[in-house]
């Protein structure tokens, strides 16, 4: 088991490295291939009307004139050990993990990421709780009452859920429940949990529900399909033949087997979401990682985009790792194989 975890961990680190390479290539190699030279690239980091001196300074700080491999090396070593961007006596220390430095706002990226993480985290965790609970229970009920009115209604709602763009549901819910009937605070009114838990929850209800609606729909469908499969399995018949009450049959025998594959999907979804629920955050103007990245893209603040992308990838890899371990724990068959 330990060996298994170690192996997955090693694979995760390699995956992360490759991810950094790809991200790096996209941001530093693709523009070059598209014919933008290091001056042009540096100019992007400075913004507005850059003077040649400013461009030269950025070039120096980011080593833009070095070969891409050297730049990449610096970037990775910055991640691990921190780095310094210096130009004269004005030295910018960037402690590990150094996710880069935004010349637009003259700040390190990492503290800013940390700053936004709680928002995204609150959004993701709250939504995940809702969608898992709602999605799974609706899925189970639908599967058990297959063909019933409840099943049909649930599945049609689920389909609607996956068909409605989040920015539309978000806008409509804001228009109705926040502006027309001011039950919930309007978009953008995020309060930290530590500051005021009640206000925190109050402000997040709409984003949670909107986001959870989409995923609950997906998970309900997945759970239903999984449950229908499992409940037809022979071991369910065995469980019934033992004389177990139906509740136990469903909860202990059916659900466990049906949910196992869903864990994998959840890992991926949740990991990606921790890196920023771009649409939800944009729609509700939540100052999370997704909104941060979108704004950075608009403002051409590439270090920030790079940082968020990397962080997201890291989350996905970590979540997958956890899921793999969890998977091996809930499904003993995996332990030997894999």
């Amino acid at each position: 088991m330990i060996r298994y975890i170690l192996r997955r961990l090693a694979a995760g680190v390699v995956l992360l490295l490759v991810v950094t390479m790809v991200v790096f290539a996209i941001f530093f190699l693709v523009p070059r291939l598209a014919g933008i030279d290091s001056d042009g690239l540096a100019a992007r980091y400075v913004g507005k009307s850059p003077s040649p001196e400013a461009i030269a300074a950025v070039k120096e700080r980011l080593n833009l004139d070095e070969p891409i491999t050297v730049q990449y090396g610096e970037f990775v070593s910055g991640l691990v050990m921190g780095t310094e961007y210096d130009s004269g006596t004005d030295v910018i220390h960037c402690d590990a993990p150094c996710f880069g430095y935004s010349f637009k706002t003259n700040t390190e990226v990492w503290p800013q990421l940390l700053d936004r993480l709680p928002v995204t985290g609150s959004l993701a965790i709250g939504a995940a709780v809702i969608w898992v609970v709602a999605g799974v229970s609706i899925g189970v009920l639908s599967a058990l009452r297959r063909g019933s009115l409840l099943d049909r209604a649930a599945m049609i709602t689920a389909l609607a859920g996956v068909s409605l763009p989040i920015f539309f549901t978000g806008l409509v819910s804001l228009a109705l429940l926040s502006y027309y009937w001011p039950i919930f605070p309007p978009g953008g009114s995020y309060t930290a949990f530590t500051e005021n838990p009640l206000a925190w929850a109050h402000a997040l209800v709409l984003p949670w529900v909107t986001l959870a609606f989409l995923y609950a729909a997906m998970y309900a469908r997945l759970t239903r399909a999984g449950m229908l499969d499992t409940m037809g399995e022979d071991f369910i018949r065995t469980a019934r033949a033992k004389g177990l009450p139906e509740r136990t049959v469903v909860a202990k025998h059916g659900l466990r087997a049906a949910l196992t594959p869903i864990i994998t999907i959840f890992g991926l979804d949740f990991g990606l979401m921790l890196g920023g629920a771009v649409l939800t955050e944009s729609t509700f103007s939540l100052p999370g990682l997704g909104k941060f990245a979108v704004d950075a893209i608009r403002g051409n603040d590439l270090p920030v985009v790079l940082g968020v992308t990397m962080l997201t990838a890291a989350f996905v890899v970590i979540c997958n790792l956890i899921v793999d371990v969890l998977y091996a724990w809930v499904d003993p068959r995996v332990r030997v194989g894999a």
């Binding site: 995956l15 490759v18 991810v19 790809v22 996209i26 941001f27 693709v30 523009p31 598209a34 014919g35 389909l159 609607a160 996956v162 068909s163 409605l164 763009p165 920015f167 539309f168 806008l171 409509v172 804001l174 228009a175 502006y179 027309y180 997945l222 399909a225 999984g226 499969d229 594959p261 869903i262 994998t264 999907i265 991926l268 990991g271 990606l272 890196g275 920023g276 771009v278 649409l279 944009s282 997704g290 990245a293 979108v294 893209i297 608009r298 051409n300 590439l302 985009v305 968020v308 992308t309 997201t312 990838a313 996905v316 890899v317 997958n320 793999d324």
Partner: protein, 332 residues
């Protein structure tokens, strides 16, 4: 880490007796496609979805004709329909009338109906083409990974993992910004659409790739592959003649389920401001502009929102129905 999605065809052999015995007599001589079609025809919901999809495809195809008959040119400003002081549509319901079926846009007074009709073109075009890209890429990669196994599989699978670990939306946004304004002999919207198709398609292939890989993996172990090889068939023959026919069903089903995803993706990109260039109408773009007018012109928000919703829903309904129809497990 193969997605444990329920995949049609996987359980083909699950109840061979039941099929051979109960359905056998009736199904004699009918191909699986025919059976699927018979089942699909009975599924009213799926057929409604299918009909709507066809309708939207026609709307997209004949947009100029329809807009010409029932509306105004999509990019034409109709400032007479706008209150000059407030910039909002004149008249109740955001200016809905016989002349402007869905009302007019605030500020410009453009005919929302026509813009929805024209927006269907972009959505459908990008939805279809991007799906084509994903499906072609995904199928090729998936089938290669699944069939050859070993390090090829390991390599492709990791590649898929990497793709899946990326925040697509951000990435697509960043890429659209990084790329030049004219390339490959294309310019402006043609280039934009090509880029969008490529990006959306390119980032979605792992989803279909994983499914195809999983299917191929299990198909490869079937004895008919060995039988074919023992008759002297080469890899290419086996891939084409033995495996591909078995993959048609999942490919078809996942294509119909990927199209709506891609339509949503395009809408999201437009919503975030990296869609096609104005004044070309897109649903996502309209929706993003409508945000500011949710109370003064709710129709401006509802029209594109519902257009996206209904189209995506129709595709999903049809895709779901198709999956059921092609899935031998669904008997009744």
């Amino acid at each position: 880490m193969t997605a444990p999605l329920d995949v049609p065809g996987a359980a083909d052999e699950a109840q061979p007796d039941a099929i051979a015995q109960s359905g056998g007599v009736r199904d004699r001589g009918r191909s699986l496609g025919q059976i699927a079609w018979m089942r699909l025809r009975k599924d009213k919901v799926a057929m409604t979805g299918g009909a709507f999809v066809v309708l939207m495809a026609l709307v997209a195809l004949f947009a100029p004709l329809i807009a010409g008959l029932l509306g105004h040119p999509p990019n034409q400003w109709n400032r007479e329909a706008i209150d000059p002081a407030l910039g909002t549509p004149i008249g109740a319901m955001g200016g809905m009338s016989g002349e402007f079926l869905f009302g007019v846009e605030p500020v410009t007074g453009r005919d929302i109906f026509s813009r929805i009709v024209y927006g269907a073109r972009i959505s459908m075009l990008i939805g279809f083409l991007a799906t084509l890209v994903s499906v072609v890429l995904g199928t090729i990669m998936g089938i290669i990974a699944g069939y050859f196994g070993g390090w090829v599989d390991a390599l492709i699978s990791r590649l898929m993992d990497i793709f899946l670990a990326f925040p697509l939306l951000l990435f697509a946004m960043a890429l659209v910004g990084v790329l030049p304004d004219s390339a490959f002999g294309l310019q402006d919207n043609a280039l934009r659409i090509a880029i969008l198709v490529f990006i959306i398609g390119f980032f979605n292939w792992p989803y279909i790739g994983r499914i195809i890989r999983g299917q191929t993996l299990s198909l490869r172990e079937r004895e008919f592959v060995e039988a074919s090889r023992s008759l002297g068939a080469g890899n290419l023959y086996i891939l084409r003649k033995e495996l591909l026919p078995n993959l048609v069903a999942p490919i078809l089903v996942y294509s119909t389920l990927l199209i709506p995803t891609n339509i949503l993706f395009e809408a999201a990109l437009s919503f975030l401001g990296v869609g096609v260039e104005p004044p070309t109408a897109t649903w996502g773009g309209m929706l993003s502009e409508a945000v500011d007018y949710y109370d003064s012109a709710p129709n401006f928000m509802l029209a594109p929102g519902l257009a996206i919703f209904l189209t995506v829903l129709a595709f999903n309904l049809f895709g779901d129905g198709l999956r059921d129809a092609l899935d031998p497990r669904t008997q009744s």
